[in-house]
Symmetry: C2
DNA sequence: ACGGATTAAAGGTCTAATATTTAGTTGACT
DNA sequence: AGTCAACTAAATATTAGACCTTTAATCCGT
């Protein structure tokens, strides 16, 4: 049964007019099924929390083998669209993809392309000023508390490179989170680790630079506290470009 | 054979000190293999263009079944780390993940979370001014030609909403490409389609707005031609925030 | 030297059995 | 009645092996 994929050699009646057709993409069985299911999900006919039919049912209704059905489910799982649980009452439950899906993808992109330090810093320079502005606009009191807490931690750890850099990272991420923009958060989470790795070096963080960093962080924190978007943005912009230039020289 | 996953009930000698251990993640066979192979790839022991052993060989050397081996390969394929070809001399070839991998992931994220229009516009507002600045800094002559070409197309199509919006999209993407920053390009490609969809509406693009848009696009194009990064950035910033405010009112 | 048939090597698919995990159910012992 | 252990059932996870399809190389006749 199941002789799928009949490509059908399109009889010789070739009206040889200038039809140009690109390379024909031949989908695999599992892909076809995955596409259908994905369509159901993003199309809204299956919503967050709903259960998919179990594998045997899908096998029957699709006419494919269980392996192909499973392949399809694995694809959706890797895309973060379903979560599959083993055992009685297990199965595949629809869920919304989280930021971690993006983070994984972008991290792979960065590490396997050996993205240059300058590119990372440029990307950060794009995201952070806007994030700071939005944070000043939309922060809650908890957001502010978190930012201040991370700032204090960094000040306290100024003599310990590890603690300093960790605090630095946390402070920046706290601000981005306070922007309440999921896309910016996801993008920043994606690159922050790489930025951290790439600046994790004593020579890139001499004491006088750390002093400088702490001082401007303090001013940015204040701007966010006072809910002054323009000032937060301006300062953050200066901060990241200053550090970028410092890196550019070394 | 192969009785993996013995969790081993940790004898009763529970030193009940306050050790807290999170939920134990039990990996699947395919995941373990995928992790190993991924490590080989990003670790550099397998580089771009190399062939992986074929499925039967991997089955032997890993001690897993062919299905599990194939599952692992599928994961890597979905991550964009390998490309698999059928047929004699086929197999799995290592490749660097492209921007399309990021685009797919982020697009799913956006559409399945029904990301709000304002968030999209905010994210764009973060990326584009920096991209314009970098474009002014690093553009080649071909980059410039492309930007000008897209601008002309947009001017020519100003009375046709479809052509106008398409030209708009193309012009913006041309600039981002001219930044020569793969991360920014990937991020922008990821959201541009969604931004396009969300602004594809006659009422959001009345004639007087189009005129305004064309005029400022022209000035930005000129700034990039003259390689004036600060000006390009300033204008682009004004452009996107102006449009954001216009959207905010409607 | 060309072009069609053959063949070999790879991935793609199907089937069916077995293993493992998990949640509910039952039942004996408090 | 309550509780914990053993059992059972329902689902996914894994294995095994056969067969199908695609693709490139090779052979061979013209």
């Amino acid at each position: 049964m199941a002789q799928h994929r009949e490509q059908m050699a399109a009889s010789k009646s070739s009206a040889s007019s200038s039809l140009k057709l690109g390379p024909v993409k031949i989908p695999r069985a599992a892909e076809v099924l995955a596409n259908q299911l994905r369509e159901e999900i993003v199309g809204g006919r299956l919503s967050d929390g709903d259960m998919l039919p179990n594998e045997r049912e899908l096998t029957e209704s699709s006419g494919l083998s269980r392996s192909s059905v499973r392949d399809a489910l694995r694809m959706l799982e890797l895309e973060g669209l379903i979560a599959t649980k083993q055992g009685r009452n297990g199965g595949s439950r629809v869920c919304k993809p989280g930021r971690d899906t993006i983070v994984k993808t972008v991290s792979l992109f960065i590490s396997s392309r050996r993205t240059r330090r300058v590119s990372l810093v440029e990307a950060r320079g794009a995201i952070e000023p806007t994030a700071a502005m939005l944070a000043a606009k939309h922060r809650t009191d908890e957001d502010l508390a978190r930012i201040q807490e991370k700032h204090s931690a960094m000040v306290a750890g100024i003599d310990d490179l590890d603690r300093f850099l960790r605090g630095n990272l946390d402070w920046h991420m706290a601000i981005v989170h306070a922007s309440h923009n999921d896309l910016l958060i996801a993008f920043m989470e994606s690159i922050s680790h790489a930025v951290y790795d790439v600046t994790n070096d004593e020579t890139l963080n001499p004491p006088e630079v750390r002093q400088q960093v702490v001082r401007i962080h303090g001013r940015i924190t204040d701007a966010i506290e006072k809910q002054d978007p323009a000032e937060a943005k301006r300062l953050m912009e200066r901060h990241v470009t200053a550090y970028a230039e410092f890196l550019g020289m070394s």
